[in-house]
């Protein structure tokens, strides 16, 4: 079923409501999914592909508007523009520069990057959109193995509201240690990528009787302890709720679990502790209870009729005084991204990059495609100790095939290959 012509506007989904309240140049709430191709990008072809794709993804073809009581997403009739990448990844999406869209499509040599404001969608939705753009960039016509259209009602639904229950669950909240440093004087983040074999890392994880994500969280926690010398370390791991709740929405539908470690220990000791926390928090009803609480907040009459600006003040305060204090860093692993076989000839790597802001100055995004796992660590501070520590530690478990970054050398560009 296609959407009605006059119905092209959306209330923000439950998770999205907080982002417009706090997002700024210093705290941009922007993430990037990118594809590194085997050849240089043709700008005109990419522009055509983007214009074709946006017509089939109404949830992306919107702009953010400020209503009297809530922000909302309104249809955007202007065609989006692809832009040459000139600024650092994950900078604030300025509507004036993006023709009103909540995303940017950048290109630079072999890389196509889709940077999204989190109010629009999450990592899954962004990857689906990027895949469709790439498909339309390479081919004409349809393919059953890829979603090229996202205009069914279930593609644009607010799945939080649909799957909310009646009972809440209260998570354990611990004040977390933060990674300190001198903030960088640029918008966006520096990114350090490490590439390794997904299957090799999986073998290592299996030898510890665990999963890749748990192993990476354990190594990351150990690195943070080594740098900060104190705890507790709390790693936030976003969870894609679509598989758990059978949803196909392209809008936000993820929640987070917090992995807490009070003291430094060996990997062998950390892994079962982390595994148990994953197991407890990945329980379907526990997760439902978490977002049910947020959905219920949204339905409170007092909150509904409060003016947008007033709500924004409170949401910002809640974020600064609560949410930010209980997290050390974010690690997101959207899992293995698959592309149709005929696309694989053209795509070398996929990347997933998170924004970095005070106090979560260093975060990690992981994307795996064709057995190539790209670990992207974003950095909003000058100090690189944690990143070096993590990659060195990871290298001891599973050798990295390649490392590269966007730091630039004297000439401005660097691509470190091992």
């Amino acid at each position: 079923m296609h959407m009605k012509e006059e119905n092209k506007w959306f209330k923000l989904d439950n998770a999205a409501k907080i982002y417009p309240a706090f997002a700024s140049k210093k705290d941009p709430a922007t993430f990037r999914v990118a594809a590194v191709l085997k050849h240089d990008i043709d700008k005109d072809r990419l522009q055509e592909a983007l214009e074709k794709t946006i017509n089939d993804f109404p949830s992306m073809a919107v702009t953010l508007k400020k209503g009297l009581f809530w922000y909302y997403l309104d249809e955007n009739p202007r065609p989006p523009l692809v832009m040459e990448e000139t600024s650092m990844p994950c900078a604030y999406v300025e509507l004036k520069k993006s023709r009103g869209y909540l995303f940017h499509v950048f290109y630079h040599k072999k890389r196509v990057s889709l940077e999204c404001f989190h109010a629009l969608t999450d990592g899954y939705g962004a990857f689906e959109f990027l895949k469709a753009i790439l498909y339309n960039y390479f081919f004409v016509g349809e393919d059953d193995s890829i979603r090229l259209v996202g205009n069914r009602p279930e593609d644009v639904e607010d799945s939080y509201k649909k799957h909310a229950g009646l009972e809440y669950t209260e998570p354990k909240k611990t004040r977390a240690v933060h990674v300190k440093g001198r903030p960088i004087d640029r918008e966006g983040a520096f990114v350090h990528h490490g590439v390794l074999s997904g299957s090799d890392l999986n073998k290592v994880a299996k030898s510890y009787n665990t999963t890749i994500t748990v192993l990476l969280v354990a190594i990351y926690i150990k690195s943070i302890f080594k740098v900060t010398k104190k705890g507790p370390v709390v790693i936030t791991v976003p969870v894609n709720l679509r598989k758990i709740f059978q949803s196909e929405t392209l809008r936000n539908f993820s929640y987070v679990i917090n992995v807490v470690c009070d003291q430094d220990d060996s990997i062998e000791t950390l892994i079962p502790i982390i595994s148990n926390q994953f197991k407890d928090q990945l329980d379907k009803e526990y997760l439902r209870g978490q977002f049910t609480k947020n959905v219920a907040y949204e339905k409170k009459l007092l909150l509904k009729i409060a003016p947008t600006d007033l709500k924004s003040v409170f949401l910002r305060m809640a974020r600064n005084n609560q949410s930010k204090k209980i997290v050390t860093s974010i690690l997101t692993n959207p899992g293995i991204v698959t592309l149709p076989e005929k696309m694989q000839t053209y795509v070398e790597l996929l990347e997933c990059v998170l924004y970095a802001s005070n106090p979560h100055y260093i975060n990690m995004g992981i994307a795996t495609y064709n057995d190539k796992m790209v670990i992207s660590m974003s950095r909003g501070i000058e100090e690189k100790t944690l990143i070096e520590t993590f990659f060195n530690m990871l290298n001891d478990y599973c050798p990295l095939n390649m490392r590269y970054n966007n730091e630039g050398d004297q000439d401005g560009i660097s691509s470190i290959q091992r």
């Binding site: 400020k66 209503g67 909302y72 040459e84 990448e85 072999k110 890389r111 918008e187 401005g412 691509s415």
Partner: protein, 175 residues
Amino acid sequence: MEYPVYKDKRKPFMKKLFIIHLMSLVLCLVLPWFIYVHGSFTFLFLAYFTVKKYRGFKALFALFSSVLVMLLMFDMADFKLTWSLSYVFPSFIIAITSLMFLIILVRKKKWHQYYSMHSYLIMVNLLVGLLMILGFMQSIVLGIVTLSIFAASLIAIWIRVGKKYYRNLFRFIHV
């Protein structure tokens, strides 16, 4: 895997401007006449922001609002709001509403995008009514003229733009 060369560094200009503005505000408390300097500075500060952010009618609305804020501040020099509330405020609304009225007549297609501005104008007009009832506005005639022009603009919108406008207005006020 290459990334481009980045040149844009963060410019702390706005932060500095904000600090100067705050200092100017403190100075007003020590030197009452300084409110005229502070008012002018506030106008420049707001005008810079709004012109940078908005275009067209929205920019004009914001610029008018900046002038209004400046005049309200000037009127605050004697710790009373007199001529600004009675004359400047309604004049400001009359000017904006008339402009809006004109745009409705000549740019029908474009108009449906301005429902947010119109919603704010509704609220400002309600404020005029409230100020009249509470006796803060000395010029009742001007107040009545303001509200009448506004009512006329509502009718004009209904006739010229109709359904689409009210559909957008519904989006704007959804709960």
